[in-house]
């Protein structure tokens, strides 16, 4: 144990002892720092290596399969003839449903909760439940979509049913991220607007939303890119295994990129080439997600504010 007692007139021996103790403690801390630095570095290498391995595997598998014919062709049970044009159209259709639905309902909900609702027990109860909803497994939202949109509204397994189900899935995330963006708008801007006789909605429309918009869009794009990668809710909805037709309207049956990956990997035992098709589809999906995330980062950086 070190004696920290302050002595007014320490002897030379005591001084030296103290210096020695300090030196050893500092040595130990520097050693710990160096060890931890290596541990953190190895963690990063491990994470990147797993990702690299995945990319390498699917990259190798998709060589020779990822070509124009594959991108623009229709689905087929013969691996050489199969293409994913239908799945691409299906995924785009889903996005076209998810974006307006989640933005309109999500942002409106966030505006109500942050700007209009009386901040009290009920509001915080709703907020806690929204955060809980955001972590409910996607398959459960699939079941909800099946009974609500598929059965009750007779939308079957159409693009509209799928899009609405995915909207439900990401809605809590969009609400929470929009709430954060609205909350980060400094209050003195609202006060300035109220001080000139502006009502609440004018203040929200002209002051709050323009400032919060980059945050809202970033959150929305990130959650929508999660939606287009989701498989489970669509499987529960009963998307057909093999569909040759390219969907023409939102009421048509469809297939989507993650669904295609899922079905092809189920059948690799009998038709090994399906693994290559799945790999090629994964590449397409990853590129799409990468592009969407880049747009989100671009928006965030472009509109960064300095208050």
């Amino acid at each position: 144990m070190i004696n920290y007692e302050l002595k007014l007139n320490p002897t030379e021996a005591e001084k030296e002892y103290k210096i020695d103790i300090n030196k050893r403690r500092i040595d130990r801390r520097i050693l710990l720092n160096n060890i931890l630095k290596k541990v953190f570095f190895l963690s990063m290498v491990f994470a990147l290596a797993v990702l690299g391995l995945l990319l390498y595997r699917i990259g190798i598998q998709s060589i020779g399969w990822l070509d124009v014919q594959f991108l623009t062709g229709k689905l087929s049970i013969f691996p050489e003839k199969a293409g994913i044009w239908g799945a691409i159209i299906g995924s785009i259709g889903l996005i076209c449903v998810v974006i307006p639905v989640t933005l309109v309902i999500g942002v409106s909900t966030a505006i109500y909760l942050e700007e209009y609702a009386t901040q009290g027990k009920i509001a915080s109860f709703i907020k806690v439940n929204l955060s809980n909803l955001a972590s409910v497994p996607s398959v459960i939202f699939g079941l909800l979509g099946l009974s609500l949109f598929g059965r009750l509204f007779h939308l079957g397994s159409s693009i509209l049913a799928g899009g609405l189900t995915l909207s439900l899935l990401v809605l809590p995330i969009v609400v929470v991220s929009s709430q954060e963006a609205i909350k980060s708008v400094p209050n003195f801007l609202r006060e300035a607007s109220y001080g000139m006789g502006a009502d609440k909605w004018t203040t929200i429309r002209k002051v709050v939303l323009p400032v919060a918009l980059p945050g809202i869009l970033t959150g929305a794009i990130l959650s929508i890119s999660r939606a287009i990668g989701e498989t489970a809710p669509l499987v529960v909805l009963g998307i057909p295994t093999l569909i040759m037709k390219i969907p023409k309207s939102f009421m048509d049956d469809f297939t989507a990129l993650p669904i295609q990956i899922y079905y092809w990997t189920l059948d690799t035992v009998l038709t090994p080439e399906y693994a290559n098709l799945a790999a090629a589809t994964i590449i397409v999906l990853l590129v799409t997600l990468f592009l969407m995330n880049s747009v989100a980062i671009f928006i965030r950086n472009k509109y960064q504010r300095g208050f």
């Binding site: 003195f188 006060e191 001080g195 009502d199 002051v207």
Partner: protein
């Protein structure tokens, strides 16, 4: 808009009287804490009324009550009356949006919108329905001139307001407030975030503005109150201790507590 009509009418009638606000027995609570106790005072037309007092004495609360900004805090309760041109502003028929178009406010920290200088000034006129581009430009120019900022910004009206210095930003906020053509301007420690030179400019501006507007200003600086105001109110612990012409307050205060505060014995 009958509230506005009322004001216009009463303005004509009351021109004989020289006060704009008549506060009568105002009490205000934050939850269970009483922040203002039985305040009664008149605020005179075309004068600068300074409100001084130590931190937490209720001076900011009081000025924010005059345009009902204080009601943005949900737990606030009030009683008593504030007559604005003879009409109680707490009356159910009075809408805060209308009240605040005639009672402008300048805040402690300059708070321009993250928009261009032009957009900042015409924000008020725009939300009140003026669409004509030429009229808006004219309002922008007059307001900026009245706020003594025109010469500094006339070549960069469409630059972001955040490129201005703190003092310029505060004068921009005053211009933005003038653009709504208010009758009263409430100022809540408008120079506390500014350097002495910028402060001097704002004080000069206030002196100019009082020929056309009625100004109530909260300040923590007694020197400032002495320099710019015609009347001074001294608040302490939520009470109005003394209210008189600035000369009397600073040379011959009646109350011992006022004298102690002014001579720097506490605060």
């Amino acid at each position: 808009m009958d509230f506005m009509e009322d004001i216009k009418l009463s303005k004509k009638i009351i021109t004989a009287d020289d006060y704009v606000y008549d506060v009568q027995g105002l009490d205000l609570w934050y939850g269970n804490d009483q922040a203002l106790k039985d305040i009664s005072m008149k605020i005179n037309k075309n004068e600068v009324t300074a409100i001084i007092g130590p931190s937490g004495c209720g001076k900011s609360t009081f000025i924010k009550t005059l345009n009902r900004m204080i009601e943005n805090i949900p737990i606030v309760r009030t009683s008593g009356e504030i007559l604005y041109h003879g009409k109680n502003i707490f009356d159910k028929s009075v809408r805060v949006e209308e009240l605040r178009t005639t009672v402008g406010m300048v805040f402690q920290k300059p708070n321009p919108f993250p928009k261009s200088i032009y957009e900042n000034v015409v924000y008020g006129p725009k939300i009140h329905g003026i669409k004509d581009k030429n009229l808006l430009l004219e309002i922008c120019e007059t307001s900026l001139k009245s706020a003594a900022l025109w010469d500094e910004v006339k070549d960069r009206l469409h630059d972001n307001a955040y490129g201005l210095s703190g003092g310029q930003q505060q004068r921009l906020c005053i211009a933005r407030c003038l653009a709504v053509q208010p009758d009263v301007i409430l100022m809540d420690e408008p120079t506390s975030a500014l350097d002495p030179i910028a402060t001097a400019k704002i004080e000069e501006l206030i002196n100019h503005l009082k020929t056309e507007y009625t100004i109530a200003i909260v300040t923590h600086s007694m020197q400032q109150a002495g320099r710019i105001s015609d009347k001074t109110a001294f608040f302490l612990m939520g009470e109005l201790i003394e209210y008189d012409s600035t000369e009397v307050i600073f040379s011959n205060p009646r109350d011992k507590r006022t004298e102690d505060y002014i001579t720097g014995r506490f605060g």
